[in-house]
Symmetry: C2
Subunit: 415 residues, 2 copies
């Protein structure tokens, strides 16, 4: 049994997205090269919800204020959320995902999708249980499993060397399930790589889970922000035992409602029921006044979603063009979501050092790849839901900084 100090050492957040400001208190060791590079600072660790980038859904603040004016009935709902609102969400999410959802039994409203993830795993993972986790995947997945005393069983995903599908190693997943894994957690679209699982990949996951009785938590936070030419397959609508699946979604990304801290989880009633019991002691109840803002979700003005997707797609393409001009940089074009996960050429400084230099010298904040997989020591993650012009210029600065710190400077100059 690890001590509590050892457990928390594994939960370090010094390099987690959004925590960069705290590094200043610990690290004075960056040996910088060259002069600062001027430009509007861009924080790619999360999306920008300012009006100059991607503002929250129209009408969201008005719904919040209406919730406050409803008073006690909105402040104190069932722990799993207001019943009428759950019925409404269940109907919309059933339509979106193509499989039934009961608002009474199958859905819980949580403080953010992070809250939903923690509750779902808390409802499934007993100390010592084996949990399959994709590499790379959302940075908190591993940490939640470890905090709960679970054993992480990693499964490779070769996202970079293909144009379609996620590239999950399905044979390795099967071997993991055969080894006694009880729970499988993955994001689709994948965070950080922006790739979408094919119908065949989803069908194989469904079949393996049913065969081995493995509960699956699928984080579909970005499934609405799908780019032209791609399609999305919902695991819960595939051929899978419905009692094994919980899907997590929320309005914090595509809809830029992250400031309201809203998430939902829906699926197997036995798991949702436990999640509510856990919510009772973790945060007591669903976000109170904020819940009202969910009324805007899947009910945005006509054309709003299409416009939002188009704006992100145009930005994606401009950023990919900048990366394409940077020698030695490899990046897969995201099929959905607002993440880019470029692999850098070999640098002659450690990745954390480069990431700090990028922030200090170029005003660009990114998240180091190893937050997402211990193998991703040469990648950085960017959330490109940002002001278009500022983001393009910031990625140009990344390219310039890579040139300063690359291991093969001579080769490039010669080339």
């Amino acid at each position: 049994m690890p001590t509590i100090d050892e457990r928390f050492a594994r939960l370090a957040t010094d390099h987690a997205p959004g925590q960069e400001v705290r590094q200043a208190f610990a690290d004075g060791d960056v040996a910088l090269r060259g002069e600062p590079i001027a430009g509007t600072p861009v924080d790619f660790s999360h999306g920008d919800v300012n009006p100059t980038a991607f503002a929250p859904t129209p009408g969201s603040l008005e719904e919040f204020v209406a919730g406050v004016h409803r008073g006690a009935s909105q402040a104190y709902t069932e722990y799993r959320g207001d019943a009428a609102l759950r019925a409404l969400m269940a109907e919309r999410l059933a339509r979106f995902t193509g499989a039934p959802v009961s608002g009474v039994d199958d859905l819980i409203i949580t403080p953010g999708t992070q809250g939903a993830l923690f509750l779902a795993l808390g409802a499934l993972v007993n100390p010592g249980d084996r949990v399959a986790i994709v590499r790379p995947d959302y940075f908190a997945n591993r940490k939640i499993v470890e905090f709960l005393g679970g054993v992480v069983v990693p499964v490779r995903m070769d996202y970079l060397s293909r144009d379609t599908g996620a590239g999950l190693d399905l044979d390795q997943l099967e071997a993991a399930f055969r080894s006694g894994v009880k729970t499988f957690l993955f994001s689709n679209p994948n965070n950080p790589a922006g790739v979408v699982y094919t119908p065949e990949e989803v069908a194989r996951i469904a079949s393996l889970a049913t065969t081995h009785g493995v509960s699956v938590v699928v984080d579909q936070l970005y499934s609405r922000l799908l780019y032209a030419g791609n399609s999305f397959t919902h695991l819960r609508a595939a051929d899978i035992d419905a009692d094994l699946v919980v899907t997590i979604m929320g309005p914090s990304k595509t809809e830029s409602l992250s400031g309201y801290r809203l998430g939902t989880a829906f699926g197997a009633a036995r798991i949702i029921d436990r999640m509510e019991k856990l919510q009772a002691i973790v945060s007591l109840r669903a976000p109170a006044y904020s819940q009202a803002v969910l009324r805007t979700w899947f009910a945005e003005p006509d054309g709003w979603l299409e416009e939002r997707i188009a704006a992100h797609q145009a930005l994606r393409d401009d950023l990919l063009a900048v990366f394409a001009g940077a020698p030695g940089m490899r990046v897969r074009s995201p099929q959905a979501g607002s993440y880019l996960f470029p692999r850098l050429p070999r640098l002659d400084v450690p990745l954390h050092h480069f990431v700090r230099a990028l922030r200090v010298q170029a005003g660009v904040t990114v998240t180091p790849g190893i937050e997402f997989s211990p193998d991703s020591t040469d990648s950085i993650r960017l959330n490109f839901s940002q002001n278009h012009e500022a983001a393009v210029n910031a990625v140009r600065r990344i390219a310039e900084m890579v040139d300063r710190y690359r291991a093969d400077v001579g080769a490039v100059l010669a080339g």
Copy 2:
């Protein structure tokens, strides 16, 4: 090692405050006596934040809206909360509690005080650790410890047979500490009993904790709502190793800001630091836009707090007068907070049955005592932060219902 089903069976929320509506799905077994008793329904399971009862602090919604308009800087703060806001809160809380607080290192903003409680215990309790818990005390305390795999070591509190102090059995507390307890958790003012620890009780806790190196989490949620003639002693300002104490407070009760889901924890930097790491995986970051509402806390309009205390005190006294006229009912007058915890005379039905009958027949929702202690099988908890007239009438209905279900009906009629 218990199975996950066994673990969640111990987290049952069917009788927890606010969950009464879900009982209707499970229980059809109430054999009712007599006719319904008319009256405005009152839900004593939580305070009423409607304008007809105790509305949120003036200016709170305006601060929230200003937070939304600040945009990304308010939506995405450090996980532990916005730095400037933490500095402000640290200054105010240091003044209130009489001991220093560093906004940089010693304070975290959480989604509700429930969130702070979970994080504080999560930061301290390793599986197998012994944790001292008061009986009776806040219903989630035991459940959090059990979820984390800790071992609950109960400590008696004889609140009923005295007029002053909490009545904690300090010798039993010392024995618990000697038995290897590593963490002690208690609420002061006590929830559910409304009693306040004397300076002597607090000093003894401080001395025992320092001697035995026990970390102490003190939930002071109600410490501002202190009635005339009482004084409050802050553990963190007592003679105690500061590295052992975390204090939890929030604006959800006295200030009726529960709908914004805000809490704070402050004290030992080593514990706050772990709490932030845990917050990163439990809810990612401090409540985003809502944080702005904290600016109103400890900065209410002149006279507002005094008026709020006076209104609760008047209501407390009127309710105590009704209980005093009900034969066989025993209740201690609360020194702080808005809870009453009357002990009922012997009934001839189980407590859960009576509580359901009270709700169905008399429109009065209360929380059964056994949520707070397995010994409190004859008590009910009322949060009397309600509309004055409705609350008084509802307590009259409680008295009438007790008469219908009491075991000694004959004796009372004869008397």
